[in-house]
């Protein structure tokens, strides 16, 4: 984070010229490990973001990170391009310690709204021109901002009931006569966890919907900041997205930490990672498809069982490989913890027989689910999310791909062994609930292709080159002030992690960009004007896991 005057920037840091259109607004440069970074003044935020969006093609605001230094606050906008995610830039907005006041980027990117609310909630930066600056994860009456440096953790948070804001209905139905206010959740089966939808109905129509999140905020970011890089953080990513996507989440942390601390990963370990991560994706997508059937109609209990049956087969394989059925803790910095179980031939046989039976079982699931007229009636042309809106809300993963946005970090920002394997990115053009379901089921097929190729590779791998971990010291201390944002394609989309090191063995700031957080934000755009049952169907199709929304 060395700061230099604009004039004597090293030439290579701006090699891509990606920040060129906004040079006039820059008040300094920073060194981020992943992308060129520039500092701007708070009042320039909307203009700079808009210019970068239109002129540099950075149309994806993946994440907003806020943090406090001893002498200042910082808001960071991590931007990248949907067409080519390797084109990225970070915009840093320093604000003073005394009065942390910045300007909102919502006019340039809708998705900034929730991210800035989170920054306000947890760190305490205020954003001018923000349409709705309220707490998002913590209760409205919370005292203090937990990730700020002077936060007193022992402060009592006792608030009488009368202080609680009961105005939800009043706000939601303002200016709408004759509407009805309904709560869906926080304990509604279709909310997949604990989410609360504040719903305003005008007759049968949804007039307004506001997701109220934070019910299972578990301080994951702060927990990671209290854990050591080398071992302690890795078990936790499994618990962000608990639907089975654990290995994909672990990869997000592994990628970020390995990039931050310059750790090499042996090829063999990369193949193991790729194979196991794709199994993890099958797990997650199978739960999504099975549970979605239940969301849409209770008649699909049998379909749910078929999907769970499929998961069980994968879980058996992953249990043999990683030792656990959901909370794998299989990746380590610099590789993985175990080689394939012995005897290897038996394991390969197990995987092969799984893959051989998969097409037939997928046909069964298609017959039960996607071919069924009830599902089609409920999902085709409901919850439509146009590609432009999806981009504006920072949607990624199957939600974006179901809207025809061809964005997959496995291919576009390659890591692991993906770029050396033959597989396709699945997209569907329609953007409705049905498309998202189709995308997930087809991605299972693609995952199977990837696994098949990995097994071929592993079978032929020379015995003396099976290095599962590079030589990583027991304590890792990345250099002071190294920072960066890295992401991988998790089950729900782009799972990114921003990390800043301060020279100790624990990260100074650890920010998680949960893909479901951004995807869920698009819910009102997809459902307002529709009917309540379609709202439930749409919510289910987003496949949000509240663990990574609330973190």
């Amino acid at each position: 984070m060395s700061t230099e005057a604009v004039s004597d920037v090293p030439a290579e840091s701006d090699r891509s010229g990606i920040l060129a259109p906004v040079t006039a607004s820059l008040i300094g440069r920073e060194t981020h490990r992943n992308a060129p970074a520039g500092r701007i003044k708070p009042q320039d935020v909307p203009d700079v973001l808009r210019t970068l969006k239109t002129e540099s093609g950075l149309d994806h605001l993946s994440c907003v990170t806020a943090q406090q230094y001893p002498d200042r606050y910082e808001t960071m906008y991590h931007l990248r391009s949907y067409d080519d995610p390797t084109q990225e830039a970070s915009i840093v907005v320093p604000t003073s310690s005394e009065e942390p006041r910045s300007t909102s980027g919502t006019t340039a990117f809708q998705t900034a709204a929730w991210h800035e609310r989170e920054a306000f909630d947890l760190v305490g930066i205020e954003y001018d021109d923000h349409p709705d600056l309220r707490r998002i994860l913590l209760p409205e009456t919370w005292q203090g901002h937990p990730l700020s440096l002077d936060y007193d953790q022992d402060q009592p948070q006792i608030v009488p009931l009368r202080e609680q804001d009961g105005s939800a209905h009043a706000i939601a139905s303002e200016g709408r006569e004759g509407t009805m206010f309904i709560n869906i959740g926080p304990h509604h089966p279709a909310t997949h966890g604990v989410m609360h939808l504040k719903l305003t109905l005008d007759g049968e129509q949804v007039a307004a919907v506001e997701p109220d999140i934070g019910y299972i905020h578990r301080c994951e970011e702060q927990m990671a900041q209290n854990c050591t890089y080398r071992y302690q953080i890795m078990p936790y990513p499994d618990r962000w997205d608990w639907s089975g996507g654990g290995l994909l989440n672990e990869w997000a942390y592994a990628r970020a930490a390995e990039s931050l601390a310059d750790i090499e990963v042996p090829e063999y370990a990369q193949v193991l990672r790729t194979m196991s991560a794709e199994f993890s994706r099958i797990l997650a997508h199978m739960l999504a498809a099975g549970a979605y059937a239940l969301d849409v109609s209770g008649d699909f209990t049998a379909t749910f069982m078929y999907a769970i049956n499929e998961r069980e087969r994968v879980q058996k394989i992953l249990e043999d490989l990683t030792g656990q059925r959901l909370m794998f803790n299989y990746f380590r910095l610099g590789g993985v913890v175990w080689d394939l179980p012995e005897p290897r031939s038996e394991f390969f046989e197990q995987v092969r027989s799984y893959l051989d039976g998969l097409p037939e079982r997928l046909t069964d699931i298609h017959n039960l689910l996607t071919g069924n007229e009830i599902i089609q009636t409920r999902t085709v042309d409901t919850g439509v999310l146009p590609a432009e809106v999806a981009k504006d809300y920072g949607c990624t993963g199957p939600v974006a791909r179901g809207s025809g946005v061809d964005y997959d970090l496995r291919r576009d920002d390659p890591y692991g062994y993906y770029d050396r394997l033959e597989w396709n990115v699945i997209t569907e053009p329609d953007g409705d609930n049905y498309s998202r379901l189709l995308v997930r089921l087809q991605e299972v097929e693609e995952s199977a292709k990837i696994i098949d190729q990995c097994v071929d590779l592993l079978e032929e791998w020379p015995v003396d080159e099976r290095t599962i971990q590079s030589n990583v010291p027991r304590t890792i201390r990345p250099d002071d002030d190294t920072e960066g944002y890295w992401a991988v394609e998790a089950a729900k989309g782009e799972l990114g992690i921003y990390m800043r090191a301060d020279g100790t063995e624990k990260p100074a700031r650890f920010k998680i960009r949960g893909p479901s957080f951004s995807n869920l934000q698009a819910l009102p755009a997809m459902t307002v004007g529709g009917q309540v049952p379609d709202l439930i169907a749409t919510l289910g199709s987003l496949d949000t896991i509240m663990g990574e929304v609330d973190r």
Binding site: C227, Y231, Q232, I233, M234, P235, Y236, A302, T303, N309, E312, K316, E319, D320, L321, T322, G323, Q324, M327, N329, V337, W338, P341, E342, D364, N367, L368, L369, G371, N372, E373, I374, Q376, R474
Partner: protein, 153 residues
């Protein structure tokens, strides 16, 4: 209509093929993978009280008490708080703590899950699976115990 009939045909096909996917627990003990991570087993004979496991534990599940001579007095592990990440086993230089395949544990209150070193020693092996042998066959040589069968008791 055709779609619904196809779905019914699919369920009928599987209803009639006579295959069961589940086992009748607890009459039938399920197969558990040798790498599976269950309740810990601790060996005081092996432990050198280096406190690596206590240090690496992500959520302070292990609590060790030593006297001023650095002799171990207590080894407490809260098996209800543990997240079963197996990091303690991984960092232990003498394999004094292992995660067995045993996943069956019950108690009336959560406090009863705080196991002391005697309770940890008495955790039974699951189906006689030796976790160390199945997970790290090379670890035995590393600690200089030869190639033969190892008796952890």
């Amino acid at each position: 209509m055709i779609g619904i009939l196809k779905g019914m045909a699919t369920t009928m096909k599987h209803a009639l093929d006579g295959k069961t996917f589940t086992v009748k627990y607890p009459e039938t003990a399920p197969e558990v993978s040798p790498r599976f991570r269950g309740v810990h087993k601790f060996s005081q004979e092996r432990c050198i009280w280096c406190r690596q496991c206590e240090n690496v534990c992500p959520n302070d599940t292990i609590q060790i008490v030593m006297d001023d001579q650095r002799n171990g007095e207590q080894y407490n592990l809260h098996i209800g708080q543990c997240i079963y990440c197996r990091l303690c086993e991984e960092v232990c230089p003498v394999d004094a703590i292992l995660l067995t395949q045993n996943f069956e544990f019950t108690a009336d209150t959560k406090d009863e899950f705080i196991y002391n070193k005697e309770q940890l020693k008495n955790v039974p092996w699951y189906k006689g699976i030796d976790p160390l042998n199945s997970r790290n066959p090379d670890r035995g040589a590393w600690i200089g115990e030869g190639d033969g069968e190892v008796d952890y008791q």
